[in-house]
């Protein structure tokens, strides 16, 4: 006696199931549903600016731990722990060393994502160029921080997918060339965006780009690249800042203590 049971349960058709599974996030923004307005581009740029202010960069480490290794500070702290830098003995186990690397690349990912979506919103092209110019300058600046601290570093110019984990380092020369390219492009995009027009110093304006380019060239000309041909670019860009007529050296040291606090 043979008994066969066949039981098959078939639910509704496949396509309707797929529609049923198609849900959209409603409580957060993703790169796919962001960068759609001018305001959102500006917000993404704000995030990149403030990333520079975190403690791993100018909030603490760049302004204190990494500069006070000179004779500016004599510390009475112990030779180990977080104050190691004060005694010229930074090594890879120091979290500040990894912190600069990480924070720069966090900034770079945000910039790359912003640049990839820069043409998404419909907006005034002059205002778009101002955002794009600042973003390009900041990417160059993050790479300048990276290469002046670490030498050869990976050059990431797009948002990497999560499985792209093996990327080689570019030579320091390639990094400087990219910094130069980004900043020169920024210089063109920001050609009318001067500090006189903006009215404050908290964003990147034309002369900031030019002054930092001069700084990039002088690092490039010096150790370890020793590309002495860049000295003339240093002069060119310093001249651009000087002849802009927007900036002057402080005539009196005491004024720093009088006028600077007032502006804050």
């Amino acid at each position: 006696m043979k008994r066969i049971w066949i039981l098959a349960i078939a639910l509704a058709g496949f396509s309707s199931c797929n529609k049923f599974l198609d849900t959209k996030p409603s409580d957060f923004y993703s790169s796919t549903n962001y960068y759609e307005t001018e305001a959102q581009l500006q917000q993404a740029l704000n995030g990149v600016y403030s990333n520079l202010m975190r403690s791993e960069l100018y909030g603490q480490v760049m302004g204190f731990n990494f500069t006070t290794t000179t004779d500016e500070v004599m510390s009475n702290r112990t030779a180990d722990g977080d104050t190691r830098g004060l005694r010229y003995n930074y090594d890879a186990s120091q979290t500040y060393v990894a912190g600069i690397w990480k924070s720069c690349y966090v900034g770079i990912r945000n910039i790359n994502s912003l640049l990839e979506n820069i043409n998404k919103p419909t907006m005034d092209s002059a205002r778009r160029n101002i955002i794009k110019g600042q973003a390009l300058f900041l990417r160059g600046y993050y790479y300048f921080l990276l290469t002046s601290n670490y030498g050869d570093v990976p050059l990431v110019l797009r948002t990497l997918a999560i499985n792209e984990v093996n990327f080689p380092a570019a030579t320091q020369k390639q990094v400087y060339e990219q910094v130069e390219k980004d900043m020169k492009e920024a210089e063109v995009l920001l050609k009318d965006y001067t500090v006189a027009k903006v009215g404050y110093n908290d964003v990147v304006t034309l002369t900031a780009v030019q002054a930092v380019l001069a700084r990039v060239y002088i690092y490039w000309a010096g150790y370890p690249q020793r590309d002495v041909s860049k000295y003339k670019d240093v002069i060119t860009y310093c001249d651009k800042v000087i002849t802009s007529g927007l900036h002057a050296l402080n005539p009196d040291y005491r004024r720093i203590h009088k006028s600077f606090p007032r502006s804050v």
């Binding site: 098959a8 198609d22 704000n46 403030s50 966090v106 499985n163 404050y200």
Partner: protein, 480 residues
């Protein structure tokens, strides 16, 4: 979540059994195109005891051979984990220009992974069911399985160059293999008119092995986090190495205590560690007699991260249970033992209460610490007060966590029906039971059955874990 299942069963005279199924699961947690997972299963069984040629073998009342294969899926990740997420509420990323109030800034919090898909678990097993004697008084079940889990949904380490703050992202990574053997014996030992004793004994062996980790990775460290004070936060007491079981204990090998013979007496009366004796991680000049000593595995005369090694395994060699039921007239008694053999535990409490932690002096200590090293008591097991060296996990507190527990004893009495009839009560049962009555173990902590850190990668971490409680219950059931 949407699922479809199709199944076929075939049974020929209860002798040949066959079943196959196909399951399709769709989950909205994955990106379009990655949503559906297909999980087939098939099994076959042969009841050889029903074959005509076996009929003469009267001692065997039932015999069945089973083989099976099955796949199943796991989608336990957060909703929309496949999408990159932007954070707009963190004021750390807001910016103010021109003395204006802070304006919103966004930053990319997670990279997202559009390739996330179902984690798949494949199991092949072979089993044998045997029952003996006319009433099947004795039955034996043997099962062997081989399980492979692939595309595990785990948080994988990312290079910082990707630009994700946390340095982690969800991926389908790795491959894990579990192989095991399980035996169960059930028998009625005594079967008399007013006394019955039956037993159930089971033992299982499981071995696991990491077959693959994420791209180019050979090990994962785990189990870090704050532990009494933050000095230990960045240390990892567990490691999972490719080709080895997961979640092995990782640290320095404890090598006793520095004795006077390890030192040269200096003219000023202090002791300096001899040049051919390895340090314990602290500076050579700072080490004093009575300080903790670790094995210098690479022979460079200093103990550091390069001397870390595997110091124990949190996974047992075998576990099992032994249950006995006695019935004598109206009394019944159940006694259950359970055990685990061959697993180690990290007794984290001993860091704090047997020598103290770095940066936390002046804590109360356990009585055992009275036997610590002093100039007149050259102990080699416990360092002097304050001699704990740098923060490190070490084999000093790794202990054998094997145990045998008397898990349950329950005794019941049913009041005879003849007495109850007059009171018009159907049934009265008086019962009492106790849980976790006694533990046989060499472990020095309160309870060897602990896991203070979540997850499979950190088995057997005991730090201030609440022990299984001993409980007594008594009751009367009355049915009217």
């Amino acid at each position: 979540m949407a699922s479809m299942v199709a199944r076929v069963n075939y049974d020929y005279q209860s002798r040949y059994l066959f079943s196959a199924s196909m399951r399709a699961d769709g989950s909205s947690k994955f990106a379009p195109g990655k949503r559906w997972g297909y999980f087939p299963a098939a099994s076959a069984a042969w009841r050889f005891s029903s074959e005509p040629f076996m009929k003469s073998l009267r001692v065997l009342s039932d015999g069945k051979l089973r083989v099976g294969y099955g796949a199943s899926g796991n989608n336990r990740v957060g909703d929309f984990a496949y999408l990159p997420q932007l954070q707009l509420t963190s004021r750390n990323f807001w910016y103010s220009a021109g003395n204006a109030p802070l304006s919103i800034g966004s930053y990319i919090q997670s990279a997202g992974n559009p390739n996330l898909q179902w984690e798949t678990n494949e199991q092949t097993n072979i089993g044998l069911d045997l029952a003996f004697f006319r009433t099947s008084r004795l039955s034996v079940t043997i099962d062997a399985y081989h399980r492979t889990t692939r595309d595990l949904l785990l948080n994988a380490a990312l290079p910082y160059g990707i630009g994700v703050e946390s340095g982690f992202g969800l991926k389908n990574i790795g491959k894990l293999q579990n192989r095991g053997l399980e035996f169960t014996v059930v028998g009625v030992i005594v079967e008399k008119k007013n006394f019955n004793w039956s037993s159930n004994f089971n033992i299982s062996f499981n071995r696991n092995k990491i077959l693959e980790l994420t791209e180019g990775q050979t090990s994962i460290l785990s189990g870090n986090g704050t532990f009494f004070n933050t000095t230990y936060s960045s240390l990892f007491p567990y490691i999972s190495v490719k080709g080895r079981p997961m979640g092995e204990m990782y640290g320095l090998q404890f090598d006793g205590v520095y004795q006077y013979s390890d030192f040269d007496l200096m003219p000023n009366g202090t002791y300096l560690l001899k040049a051919d004796v390895a340090t314990n991680g602290a500076a050579r000049t700072a080490i004093r007699p009575g300080d903790i000593k670790y094995k210098d595995l690479n022979g460079d005369l200093q103990v550091n991260n390069q001397d870390l090694t595997i110091i124990g395994s949190g996974l047992p060699k075998h576990t099992g249970g032994f249950s006995n039921n006695f019935v004598y007239n109206n009394f019944d008694l159940n006694v259950l033992f359970q055990w685990s053999y061959g697993n180690d535990l990290i007794n984290g409490n001993r860091y704090v209460f047997e020598g103290g932690l770095v940066n936390n002096p002046n804590l109360n200590q356990m009585a055992s610490y009275a036997n610590r090293w002093t100039p007149t008591n050259p102990s080699n097991t416990m360092f002097r007060a304050g001699g704990m060296g740098n923060a490190a996990y070490s084999s000093r507190v790794v202990e054998d966590g094997s145990y045998l527990k008397l898990r349950t004893v329950s005794l019941g009495y049913n009041v005879p029906v003849a007495i109850l009839k007059r009171a018009k009560i159907k049934n009265i049962r008086i019962h009492t039971s106790a849980q976790n009555l006694y533990t046989w173990s060499r472990y020095s902590g309160t309870d060897p059955e602990v896991s203070g850190r979540d997850g499979n990668l950190t088995p057997g971490f005991d730090y201030a874990v609440y022990p299984h409680s001993l409980s007594y219950v008594a009751g009367i059931n009355v049915t009217l």
